[in-house]
Symmetry: C2
Subunit: 407 residues, 2 copies
């Protein structure tokens, strides 16, 4: 085993991108392995968690939680794993606005002694990045070997290359995009409406009272459908009736009893039940809005312009069955990198697992990630769409089409 | 103009597929044009409405409503239109369980003098079909020239070929499928949970009190995303901020004000607001469940076996950007027809409009429909995937792939 440090740092006054400040930003983090300065840089790798993830990227540390809250990338990060903690000093921080120990709506507002609730300032991906930079300063980490993250965490990675282009040698946005598309913005907006229209939400002031669990459960179910693909849902659940009663009982009418309770409902209900136990409804509002708001090109003339100052290398990974963060969006990002003269590989993984693939297909994610961290773009398992396309109009990375609608 | 008859018929006792009965099934309908017996058949065309549609397929008849409630296929049905009311006797009936005058949850239970609410028996697509058959008997219509319908109405069409194979000469399921897939079942289930978890739903007994509008609005918004495609949402809304305030105000937290209210949210809120005015929440539960439950093969060895007794012709129409009822599902249905020796054409329409295409692209839907009604499969504008595929593995009807993920 390597050493694991788990804790919370008080980073002092923090002004959010919106202009509002709080007196003391607390950031919960975990750090694995030993820090080693190396020339101008170091062996430090920052891992950025996804929307509902936590700092506990690889070991058991947060009691009473599950899903992405606990060891969510355990197959990728650890001794001998793709992000090898015997080789790298791996840091993961819970983003501001979340609910795993960093400042956010459910955390205590020191001025009142009560949870911040919706008095907490609006949070952006840019705030996540700046908070991470401040934490790393505290930990004595200057230039990073790499920043790696999936989904909303991949947006966080991109923001590092924009805000601190000189501080990172290698970036790996996994299943990410320069911005969400209208379809995903719509579904996230619906999810937020489900939370705020739950009577128990009470304008966000539900702490100490009933939690708006129905609303949060609905929000999560909408999200969950986005994480799976049509193909994976068909194969996993089909139209089968569940051989058991509902785990989480939403109210239902009498007529419902005539129809089957299906596997797919049972799965969504089970997942939602786990989720409402581990996540804060206000944090879900705050973090989805940060993700929705993120736009790589904001303040620049375009994506390439935003990346122009970055002098490191980039590995983009995308998944053919992913309709939340699509292969096409990653390819568009790869083109922006090429335009900005950022050395880049866009590595497309064939998978029917939808957006979840970056979490559930470690055997496909690990090798290119490991080799890129070790050898950059020269890494053996690193493939690039540009070399595969080879001037052909019908590029090899297009199986998103088959995987989503096949069968 | 042709004659229009609008009314409600009392069809007497009706036993639903679930085994429960009501003393008198009322069915609201409209009929356009003049009925003409023709040999063994007639000039009658039954049009089956979609999930939230009404009997008012082509003229203004239901006051105070909008969307699919009023003249929802006005570009397709009418004098000189594809379904020409100067030529055909066109009947459309509001399905049992709905809320436009037929028996259903919001209609009066004669025994109590109060709305049925969730005491209304569970309803299936099979019940819709049998109710339509009973209505047509009342109207003196025996054998139909054609049954035509889109979406859930297309399932209703398929059920006609199964339940009354000798009563129909031509069927046209438009943007339909033999059954919904797991992804759509999931989204429909989430939509129902949004309604039943609205505190105003009150177990379905909200008549005379506050309607569960938030829940119904959320349900509709989930549905609406299914009706559009990724491409059409991107083109229509992108990430643009709306230049106006919210039409329908869901509760929101203070932090929301820092972020833009987007075009896509504005659109969904506007559509939801119109929808809650025109539709009944319990009916939404009942009808989505009927749609979800429908399975062409139920009680048979498969789809082909279910269609084996049907001796008429079939025109299937599907739309490349439709991920609710996909091109692949229609093609699978076409294969079942071929296996059952049902003369069939699967006409694929290239469109980015998603599932909505069958309503908003009349110029593409009209010609093949008109020609099929007139001349069957020999109709000039009727195309078939089988002839286009021509033994090639990469069939011509596959642009669903491009349209959903292009750009």
């Amino acid at each position: 085993m390597t050493s694991v440090e788990s804790g919370t740092r008080s980073l002092g006054e923090f002004t959010f991108e919106c202009g509002e400040s709080i007196g003391d930003l607390e950031v919960a983090y975990e750090a694995y392995g030993d820090f080693e300065p190396q020339g101008e840089g170091s062996n430090a790798v920052l891992v950025c968690h996804a929307l509902t993830g936590s700092q506990n990227v690889a070991s058991e540390g947060v009691p009473g939680t599950s899903g992405q809250a606990r060891a969510w990338w355990n197959d990728i990060v650890g001794p001998g794993k793709a992000i090898d903690t015997t080789k790298y000093y791996v840091v993961c921080a819970n983003v501001p606005g979340s609910c795993y120990g960093s400042s956010g709506p459910p955390a205590e507002n020191p001025k009142t002694g009560e949870p911040w609730g919706t008095d907490f300032p609006p949070v952006t991906v840019g705030d996540w990045t700046r908070a991470q930079r401040r934490l790393l300063d505290e930990l004595g980490v200057g230039r990073l070997h790499a920043v790696v993250g999936g989904s909303a965490g991949g947006m966080n990675v991109l923001d590092w290359a924009v805000q601190y282009p000189d501080d990172v040698a290698r970036i790996v946005p996994v299943a990410a995009a320069a911005r969400l598309d209208a379809q995903c913005l719509a579904l996230d907006a619906i999810a937020r409406r489900a939370i705020t229209s739950d009577d128990d939400w009470q304008g966000g002031d539900y702490y100490g009272a009933a939690k708006p669990t129905d609303g949060l459960a609905l929000a999560r179910q909408v999200g969950h459908v986005m994480y799976l693909s049509k193909t994976s849902m068909g194969e996993r659940f089909g139209r089968r009736a569940a051989g058991r009663d509902a785990v989480r009982s939403f109210p239902a009418d009498r007529a419902a009893g005539y129809f089957p309770y299906r596997e797919v409902e049972s799965y969504l209900d089970y997942q939602a039940e786990k989720f409402v136990d581990r996540f804060d409804p206000n944090s879900y509002l705050y973090l989805t809005r940060a993700m929705d708001d993120y736009d790589l090109s904001e303040g620049y003339e375009g994506d390439a312009d935003a990346l122009a100052a970055y002098e490191g290398e980039a590995l983009l990974m995308s998944f053919t069955g992913d309709w939340h963060f699509t292969v096409a969006q990653s390819e568009s990002l790869a083109e922006a990198c090429r335009e900005a003269s950022v050395p880049v590989a866009h590595h497309v993984v064939g998978s029917d697992h939808g957006h979840d693939a970056f979490l559930v297909e470690p055997e496909k994610v690990g090798p290119p990630l490991r080799d890129f961290l070790a050898d950059g773009l020269a890494g053996r398992a690193v493939h690039d769409t540009a070399e595969e396309a080879d001037g052909d109009e019908e590029t090899e990375f297009a199986p998103v089409h088959n995987s989503l609608f096949g069968g």
